[in-house]
Subunit: 311 residues, 2 copies
């Protein structure tokens, strides 16, 4: 039984997992949906209640009926490499590929339907509350008056993107930014704006959840720094223990969102409380593995292979 | 408690349901997401586990906490009417609107996550099989050899769009077309192609499912006609009885897909068997109501209002 990986050609994180799967002796097929049609061929038959499908790329053929699991890493847009590109061909190819793969009943990391819902940041805050995390007071608004009132109540604020990366090629990550004390918020009428009470932090926490396995890493932080992704002060990620309450909340969150993989970001305040900032269902883990030595790729591979976690 | 309807300005089907809701004395707010930001303002606060949101348009304000239900009819793309349009503003506005509405825990017809999955046609075939419908043998392929083999086995075929309407403004519906006996299928390498055994039919069936209520309509069909949407032979839709086996399969399908509304298309063959063709989770019902007199708008309104079905 084969593991199917959907990702683009240049993806070193996928390379790490492919190596780990080779070590486990598990067959892998790696495809970029951008190559359908073209380098990838697809066929699926629905006859009298039976479903038979297969995918092929070059000399490799994989039966959709014999899939062990599917890992959706960084797939390209279907038909993006086609000779005659069109929105129509992309729609048809996406339907053909994902519609047939949905019919397989295999295990997904993560199922695209769960992933799409889990990307909605405001819903993340809601699920985080229900899972038992501490969540900084947050406002999403187009009303200047309400923004001013929120600023008066919560004083020290940051503003951040609601949708994540700025669309573009390549997409651009937008830093979370501290709001100046004299901001007047008149501009929020131009687009919904997410304001959040700033957490005075002593460390950033990245918690990676792979199936049932949790790995936390801590990086000490200068409290002046707002978004650790955009500063390089020489601090390194180091493995961190996970409070029982946090582990419980992570499991509740994964269950409510039906995700198999999630990368959680927390801000640790001076009292040691971990404040939920976000959960990225496709968050990178290579840089954490590199600095902490935590066996993340190996755990992803074990989950995909359906083997016990290796640690 | 208010019903929220997300749809574009020109939507006579929505007009019918709004009237029916007025008759029930239920407050309604109707919004087009294209008007956010601009004519629509939005605010939502997540503080200490509580969620408080509201939407306003002109002089109307609706609390997200007091929503009776949400009907996703034909919503425009968020920010499509904004003064300064951009992919970025659309992404931020979509996140703000749908992400906060997902946090309400209200009833949806249909929830966008369920709708997105239910639009995948190959997955529809899979679910239809599992629900107990008769489904014509179907192939989706980029392999000419497999297409030829399927044609040899099933002889009389139609070819249809996998993704539905051709993208464009306005989108263009593509007719299902009979495959000529001498077709050579070499072109299927250019894009995944859906081939289906043609059902020799005596009638088209449209079954509309609104919550727990089922309404079927039959239109007699000349067997030469392949796609009833594109011919006008004067035949009218008339109410039809629903076989018990079909009613059971519809309920199974709605449960597996988590839809509250679905418009099923069947081909009725000479033996009276209803062959599943597709289920459109946002299918029109105005033309059926007009010709059959079935109270579809009234039933949609009752479902949205949380009242017993009126028939």
């Amino acid at each position: 039984m084969t593991v199917l990986i959907l990702t683009c050609a240049e993806d070193v994180t996928a390379d790490m997992v492919v190596l780990a799967l080779h070590d486990l002796g598990v067959p892998v097929v790696r495809l970029d949906p951008a190559d359908l049609p073209g380098r990838i061929s697809l066929s699926a038959e629905y006859v009298q209640g039976d479903f038979h499908g297969h995918l092929s790329t070059g000399d490799r053929v994989v039966s959709m009926n014999g899939l062990r699991s599917i890992w959706v890493r960084r797939p390209g847009q279907p038909a993006a490499h086609a000779t005659q590109q069109s929105a129509w061909l992309t729609a048809e190819s996406a339907q053909a590929l994902y519609g047939t793969l949905y019919s397989t009943g295999t295990r997904w990391m993560n199922h695209p339907v769960a992933a799409e819902q889990a990307r909605r940041k405001p819903w993340q805050l809601h699920v985080a509350h229900h899972s038992g995390f501490a969540v900084p007071p947050t406002l999403i608004t187009t009303f200047p008056r309400i923004a001013r009132d929120f600023a008066a109540r919560h004083r020290d604020l940051v503003v951040k993107s609601i949708s994540g990366a700025h669309p573009g090629d390549p997409p651009m990550a937008l830093p979370t930014t501290r709001v100046e004390p004299d901001a007047d918020f008149a501009q929020v009428t131009a687009g919904p704006t997410l304001l959040q009470q700033r957490v005075p932090k002593r460390a950033d926490i990245r918690l990676t959840c792979v199936g049932d396995e949790l790995f936390a890493a801590r990086k000490l932080s200068d409290d002046k720094e707002v978004d650790g992704r955009f500063t390089d002060d020489g601090a390194l990620w180091a493995p961190a223990g996970i409070p029982a309450r946090i582990a419980q909340a992570v499991r509740a969150y994964m269950s409510l969102t039906q995700l198999a993989y999630g990368a959680f970001d927390f801000a640790e305040d001076r009292d040691g409380t971990w404040w939920f900032l976000e959960c990225n269902q496709s968050g990178q883990f290579g840089f954490i593995e590199l600095e902490t030595g935590q066996p993340l790729a190996e755990n992803v591979a074990a989950w995909l292979a359906g083997r016990p976690a290796p640690r």
